[in-house]
Symmetry: C2
Subunit: 181 residues, 2 copies
DNA sequence: CTATTATTTCAATAGCTTTTGAAAGGATTG
DNA sequence: CAATCCTTTCAAAAGCTATTGAAATAATAG
């Protein structure tokens, strides 16, 4: 195999990974950097990333910081070199756990709090309601409660999956298979 | 309760729902329309949506079409009225199933196919490899295989969850909540 | 301390996505 | 079939997000 075949396969994957991430609300470049580091057996420095993905120093720096904030990559150093090097978490299940935890905290938590807040807003005004208004308000609360319940269920699922993955994931699947069977 | 309390609670939820969706790569307005319809006991027409969310006719029309394409809302008609009315799926688990199915098809499938393609690209060039190159290529393939395996596992998980919700096993899922808590 | 090298910041800009509104296109009614 | 009502389309504009590159800052070496 010419060295270019491995390179072009990696490039293909990196590009597609970036595209997928973009449709999930993650910046394309951030995802490409992540993919590059995930595939790299060695830690890479900023210049490696700039060269490989053709991005500016500023963009590399900001995206690397963001990836650190997410907890998906770590900074390392090499003896006799003052550059910083970056390394991605290679365990896919840990990656999943990290991403799930962060998205929950950043994006799911606010809506859960809002649901609670909406419920309170209605409860505090229930006394003054006509029968019709009360029925409307209760329908609304029920709709919100359904989302909240679903959200808790998903939460539990992900917790279970993470737990199961730590001790080998087949037990988790088997348990679910029994329940769904 | 004054009618505005129910309205402002709904508005609050709709706004937050739109914000959350935006960070998941779904257009804010599309999500707001979806939330409005989800909360509405009656189907709504385009003008209702335009008034309520302060969006243009064009935007309403396009977002409603997109929501139809996703399978999250349906068009209905009212006797003696030539307007079209729109209604959202109210079962949260069906909503989840629909969204999962669509995202899998649109966004996960391409990366799965790319992984397969990358594997083939390497396999077809393996004969010409030095020992070192072969080791690199195999590391790469292993990294991809880990993602593919994870993806299959998630797939199975979601299938089981959908199955469980259909066969009235939500209580069982709730039990899992405790296990994972 | 000074020079050198590396990293971060951020205002300007480029690029992308969404929204608008008006015109065109369909459908229904009398 | 003419009038009316409703929906869709799409080019232009607005709005938003990501990227750049150079200046500022920080870190290390001599």
């Amino acid at each position: 195999m010419s060295p270019t075949a491995l390179e072009s396969a990696k490039n293909l994957f990196i590009r597609r990974w970036g595209e997928m991430a973009a449709s999930w609300g993650i910046s394309r470049t951030m995802a490409e950097i992540h993919a590059l580091l995930y595939l790299s057996p060695e830690p890479l420095c900023t210049d490696d990333i700039m060269d490989r993905l053709a991005v500016s120093r500023g963009s590399a720096s900001m995206n690397l910081r963001e990836l650190s904030n997410w907890g998906l990559i770590t900074r390392t150093h090499q003896r006799g070199d003052r550059k910083e090097y970056f390394e991605a978490e290679k365990d896919v299940w840990l990656m999943f756990e990290t991403i799930t935890r962060e998205r929950r905290r950043r994006e799911v938590q606010p809506i859960v709090e809002t649901i609670q807040r909406c419920k309170t807003m209605i409860d505090e005004n229930k006394a003054a309601l006509s029968a019709t208004q009360r029925r409307e308000a209760e329908t609304f609360q029920k709709s919100l409660a359904n989302i909240a319940e679903f959200s808790e269920m998903m939460n539990a699922m992900f917790n279970l999956m993470v737990k199961a993955s730590r001790s080998g994931l087949k037990p988790a699947l088997k348990l679910l298979e029994k329940l769904a069977g």
